[in-house]
């Protein structure tokens, strides 16, 4: 008996100590989505000699040093030129990127639009002085100073590339070929149990985009700005879609394997996944449906607590240089952000295939943007659902 009392006492002491630590530690301001302000962080004024290394968080395929494929290497040259050893960490999802950047151990990140605002307002990334990046002038104007990579005209990074979330299908099973997103939302779909969707709260925007075109009475004007009614409609649509889903995918190897085996025959994809699946011999095609699509535009951003800021700036300049940018765009399967890249791709049709210069095409693409309580479409009479609400809803949708 006495020894149990002793254990209880120890446990209580432990809890109290920790509670005290929690209360006394760094106090968070808890400003809440109501009083959003960008943390004041100074931007660099000059780039000096490299510190010897740079720690990067990136999407798979963005930082290749020849170890995946000998002909794909835009890192080794950079390392010998600048003396900055590149340490790369691949993130599987935007949410993982945000979590990694919060550790403060990384210098640069290739953030997509659904992560960038969270990083900016979270104070995890610093504003970027684009005067220090000589290649910035050649970036397509259509990508500069956008909602997801700048605040009040201040850029928070350099645009990397862009692409759409396409609809992929197996040509041998799915007939006729789909042209609309209705293929993945149709409750009477003949492909029930073999439909796949991207496993992330941001996928709610795909449903909103579809409703924008098919249910005009909801008045959705931006799939990332959803008030209660609009949000509920999108969630209901996705709950109904859950009946059709065989599995949700978030890492690309899983999707490639599922399409190869035929466990999935229809669903959202990225161009790079289609390329890999085709390379493995599976009969698949990907299309941009008539409703348009969600998409992404990535931005290289520098950490506010970077220990290697010079190497970080050198890297950002390097990765959007015409050669490196062309290399990534072609390997990953996306539209490059540097105008001069199009002349340097091995496949001369690359920029045409990915509509790099086709602003009309990208007008149909709604780039991932972090949903905020202040509606990003400019409405002030309603509150929109923020990303936390999207995340909780995503759990409910999957059931």
């Amino acid at each position: 008996m006495p020894n149990r009392r002793w254990m209880t006492a120890m446990l209580a002491v432990g809890v109290l100590t920790l509670a005290a630590c929690g209360g006394g530690g760094e106090e968070s301001t808890g400003s809440g989505p109501g009083g959003l302000e960008v943390p004041k962080i100074d931007k660099a004024t000059a780039v000096g000699a490299g510190e010897g290394q740079v720690n990067i968080v990136s999407w798979a395929g963005y930082v290749e040093d020849g170890s995946t494929d000998k002909s794909v290497d835009w890192v080794t040259g950079f390392e010998s030129e600048t003396g900055c050893q590149v340490n790369n960490k691949i993130a599987g999802t935007s949410d993982e990127m945000v979590a990694l950047m919060k550790t403060g151990e990384y210098d640069v990140v290739s953030a997509s639009g659904d992560a960038s605002l969270r990083l900016i307002y979270g104070g995890d990334v610093a504003p970027v002085n684009t005067d220090l990046i000589s290649n910035y002038k050649d970036v397509f104007e259509g990508l500069k100073n956008k909602q997801w990579n700048s605040v009040d005209g201040q850029p928070y990074g350099v645009p990397h590339g862009r692409g759409a979330n396409l609809l992929m299908y197996r040509t041998d099973t799915v007939t006729p070929a789909p042209t609309s997103w209705s293929a993945v939302f149709d409750a009477n779909s003949p492909y029930k149990g073999k439909v796949t969707a991207y496993d992330s709260p941001i996928y709610i925007a795909d449903a909103a985009l579809y409703l924008m075109k098919t249910k005009p009475e909801l008045n959705i004007t931006n799939p990332y700005a959803l008030d209660d009614t609009q949000f509920q409609a999108a969630v209901d649509l996705l709950k109904a879609q859950n009946e059709l889903i065989g599995e949700y995918w978030s890492d690309y190897t899983k999707e490639v394997q599922a399409f190869k085996a035929g466990n999935s025959v229809l669903g959202t994809t990225w161009q790079v996944i289609t390329n890999l699946t085709k390379a493995d011999g599976a009969p698949v095609e990907a299309i941009l449906p008539t409703e348009g699509a969600t998409g992404w535009s990535d931005t290289w951003m520098v950490s506010s607590s970077s220990k290697n800021p010079n190497c970080a700036y050198l890297w950002m300049n390097h990765i959007i240089s015409p050669e490196a940018n062309a290399g990534v765009a072609e390997w990953f399967g996306e539209a490059p952000s540097n105008k001069l890249s199009c002349a340097l791709t091995k496949d001369k049709d690359h920029c045409a295939t990915f509509h790099a210069e086709d602003e009309a095409y990208f007008d149909q693409v709604w780039y991932w943007t972090t949903p905020l309580a202040q509606c990003v479409d400019g409405r002030t009479d309603v509150t929109c659902k923020d990303y936390a609400a999207w995340t909780q809803a995503w759990t409910t949708i999957k059931g």
């Binding site: 809890v15 808890g30 992330s200 709260p201 394997q257 035929g262 409910t396």
Partner: protein, 285 residues
Amino acid sequence: MSSLGSYLHRNPRLRLAGLLSAPLLWLVVAYLGALAVLLVSAFWTVNGFTGEVVREFSLQNFRTLVTEEVYRAVTLRSLGVAASVTAICVVIATPMAFFMAKVASAKYRHWLVIAILTPLWASYLVKAYAWRILLANGGPIDTLLGGPGNGPGYGLFATVLVLSYLWLPYMILPIYAGLERLPDSMLEASADLGARAGRTFRAVVLPILIPSVIAGSIFTFSLSLGDYITVQIVGGKTQMIGNLVYANIGAANNLPFAAAIATVPVVIMVIYLVAVRRSGALEEL
């Protein structure tokens, strides 16, 4: 140094304290400490947008857990999976362990134990992905059952199947260890005294078997309850408690809510352990 040694020699209580302080510190700091952090942070919240943890006491996480139906559904599903996996493991492991402990000769017994242990040397991930390929559309299991689509495919059933495969050694070993302690002479004595096989099983084997099975079930049950990787790989669209914890840390960066969800399996396991405490199973671990 030598004076310290002789001082300690004269003070046995101090000697004991010195000896025990390191493991005690380990237990308190690493184990209870981590549990305490979990409990405390479950009462915090997160600023929805910047992801900063707000260190103010709030019951909001638990309110969401209780009121939202999806969390109840996922908890029940996880319990169901853990119970099925445990039941399957018991059914397969008991005869295997009995054979190893009582039927096989000493030489073979040695090799059988190694055979049971070898799967534990391979990475969990490799085994789970291997099952993903086995269960794929048109894969080996489909072919065995007569063509693409005849197998279970990915989903709840596949999850139970793969988890049973993964945790089976954790059930076999405690049962084997228990049965091995049962002297053959006792079985012979029971027979000599006129008991038939059934009676011997009930009166001699079962009292040893039950605590061993419960000891094994603690492993299979808790490991299944907290699993999220197998579910992600072969579970199709199925979610379990582990997936919710993972999603709330990875996707939402909401550590407090993840901690609140993580208290659910802790509570379930505490209830389970208290329930089986009297069976003597905990001494078998």
